[in-house]
């Protein structure tokens, strides 16, 4: 494997203004607001600081404002309020300087299907002013990084979704940007392709590149990110390490499906709440049963099932799982996501 992306960072030469700054943040946002012309408030009063070298996650359901925010950072949308500095540059006043210093991978895979993998990367090299003498090496290096060297001469339209994503990622890294934006980079990929991408992202972050990633998947954020912000309806509702957020959920989740109507669910919920083998359990009623969040979900889950059976309930199904985004939201906001978003959030 050739050298992966080194952290070009401030030493790149094209960013002299930032060299003097003592420890400038990669992203510095205060009071960001974005209201679309139709009056939709996509983002409200977002404050955020992402230090250099951090792997930062922006977690939220569909339509929460993740993509809107990342597009403001990448100069594709103009904020309607607040101040956004990316690599020390103001996104509204100096968009070109921002564009030179970032890599951006859109949510939709963006490659030219009629060009080969090599040509796609070469085009990106030219677009980002990679010097001629460096280009050939850089293209080979990136093809190796994303494991596409074998198919470098094939047109991108022949690639699988995962391969196209990898190619897309490579084109976002041609100029060795100190900061990379990844907008839901693994949505729609199978687990194998996803794991592979995770590996690349980790590698470039290990080299010092700051990464700002949006995701709907708690697992993804958990695997990759140093720190997270949770966004809901255009507002940041929580911020911290993945551990912090899981702490807020307070354990694992036991879902129990029950026969009977609402009355039965209520009664079962009462039993679960008073169940003495769980300390600090949070119980909610779901569509077809109850959901119990507790640190002892795995250990004593079966005991609860037995207790429910003894009380005359018919358990038709059960499942213990790590907290999902839905559970995090439940813990943070005390309310359930609408079911559609929750489904999206299930990994």
């Amino acid at each position: 494997m050739t050298d992966p992306q080194p952290a070009a960072r401030r030493e790149d030469g094209h960013d002299p203004a930032a060299v003097d700054r003592s420890g400038p943040a990669a992203i510095d946002v205060s009071g960001l607001e974005l209201t679309y012309s139709d009056g939709t408030e996509a983002v409200r009063n977002v404050d955020l600081t992402v230090p250099e070298g951090e792997f930062f996650g922006f977690l939220g359901p569909n339509g929460a404002g993740k993509t809107t925010t990342i597009k403001v950072f990448a100069t594709l949308l103009s904020p309607t309020g607040g101040e956004v500095r990316v690599n020390g540059f103001d996104v509204t006043a100096e968009p070109r300087k921002v564009r030179e210093s970032i890599g951006y991978m859109a949510q939709e895979t963006s490659v030219d299907p009629e060009l080969t993998a090599r040509e796609n990367i070469r085009f990106a090299c030219e677009a980002y002013g990679v010097p001629k003498s460096e280009r050939a090496d850089r293209v080979d290096e990136l093809l190796d990084l994303v494991d596409l060297a074998d198919v470098a001469g094939k047109e991108a339209e022949e690639f699988s979704g995962g391969m196209q994503k990898r190619l897309d990622a490579a084109t976002a890294l041609v100029h060795r940007p100190p900061l990379v934006f990844l907008d839901e980079p693994t949505t729609g990929l199978d687990p194998k392709a996803r794991n592979r991408l995770w590996e690349y992202f980790r590698r470039i972050n290990d080299e010092g590149t700051t990464i700002f990633l949006t995701t709907q998947y708690l697992e993804e954020a958990d695997q990759l990110c140093d720190r997270l912000a949770v966004i809901l309806d255009g507002e940041i509702v929580a911020e911290g390490s993945p551990e912090d957020l899981k702490q807020q959920v307070g354990g694992e989740v036991l879902d129990v499906e029950l026969e009977g109507g609402e009355a039965a669910r209520q009664e079962a919920a009462d039993i679960a709440e008073q169940f003495d083998r769980f300390d600090d359990a949070t119980v909610t009623e779901t569509e077809d049963g109850i959901s119990v969040t507790t640190r002892q979900a795995r250990q004593h889950g079966t005991d609860l099932l037995v207790a429910l059976r003894d009380a005359g309930f018919t358990v038709t199904g059960f499942n213990v799982h790590a907290p999902t985004l839905d559970d995090v939201f439940l813990a943070i906001t005390g309310e359930e996501l609408d079911s559609e978003a929750a489904e999206e959030a299930e990994l």
Binding site: A74, A106, L115, P131, K132
Partner: protein, 297 residues
């Protein structure tokens, strides 16, 4: 994930391999995009061929099927001019029109496959990006018009003004194509849909061609068609190209005698087309600027 040690190693590595970034220049950015669109055109020879096939079919069929009848109508006004010679400039304009349609399709494809946004987020000059794309299309149109002229000559048409006139006809074709390039890009931005763009552009093509001086002298056509033809850009393109082909002033709409001779037929046509290019070009630039600055969703 990134420990301080990692950071410092990486940073020093970065210093060791410090790479000077080549500044983006307008010409450079245009050139990069010019190359990309040419590469795409070569990758997609089907489009190149198809946009030539229809005009070639017109050229062959019209001369073979209508040659006798239409030739008589033509020779009434222009004695000694064969129908092939009369028709070739019109087909050249048709090629320019057909090729310009694909410009908008290219833009819609770019929007759909994300390349539009990818380009917007890069430090390339946005105007240069579109200049490069248009230049690639103009280049293709020049090649295609040249092919048609060669084919026409092979079929017996005569370019009376020689090689300079042939180059002039190519130039007229390019000037003519620009307003339709602008129009098809505007349609692309407004519809953001490949089929709508193709249908709208194709719907416009045939009325524009037939309700003009392209296939028959205006004087032989019904009054309402003559009226429409006077407002039709195709008439100005065809008449300018035809004046070069025949090496005499055959501009049917605007009568001037500033230069005496062929240029009296060419210059007014070019002036009208240039004006149209500017107006529709401005509309397309406005729409593109709006699309790239705000609601790229």
């Amino acid at each position: 994930m990134s420990t301080p040690t990692d950071d410092s190693t990486a940073a020093s590595e970065g210093r060791d391999r410090t790479v000077d970034r080549t500044k983006n220049t307008f010409v450079g950015d245009a050139w990069v995009n010019f190359k990309r669109w040419n590469l795409k055109a070569v990758r997609n020879p089907f489009v190149l061929v198809v946009s030539l096939v229809q005009p070639i079919i017109f050229l062959v069929l019209f001369t073979e099927v209508f040659g006798n009848v239409a030739g008589r109508a033509v020779s009434e006004g222009l004695p000694g001019v064969g129908y092939e010679t009369y028709l070739v400039p019109a087909i050249a304009i048709q090629v320019a029109l057909a090729a310009a349609v694909t410009s908008g399709i290219g833009l819609v494809n770019d929007i759909e496959n994300g390349m539009f946004e990818k380009v917007l987020v890069s430090p390339m000059n946005r105007t240069a990006v579109f200049v490069g794309k248009t230049a690639a299309e103009v280049f293709r149109i020049a090649v295609q018009v040249s092919i048609i002229l060669g084919l026409g000559v092979a079929l017996g048409a005569e370019i009376n003004s020689g090689i300079v006139g042939a180059a002039g006809i190519v130039a007229v074709g390019i000037l003519f194509s620009l307003w339709f390039v602008a129009l098809s890009n505007s349609l692309a931005i407004l519809t953001r849909d490949q089929e709508s763009t193709i249908i709208a552009a194709n719907l416009l093509q045939f009325p524009l061609l037939f309700l003009s001086s392209a296939f028959l002298p205006l004087s032989t056509l019904p009054g309402w068609i003559q009226t429409f033809a006077r407002l039709n850009p195709v008439t100005y393109g065809v008449d300018a190209a035809r004046s070069l082909m025949l090496d005499r002033d055959v501009m049917t709409v605007i009568e001037v005698s500033w230069f005496g001779g062929t240029l009296d037929g060419v210059v007014p046509g070019l002036a009208v087309l240039a004006g149209l290019d500017l107006v529709l070009g401005a509309v397309a630039v406005f729409l593109l600027a709006r699309a790239s600055s705000s609601d790229v969703q």
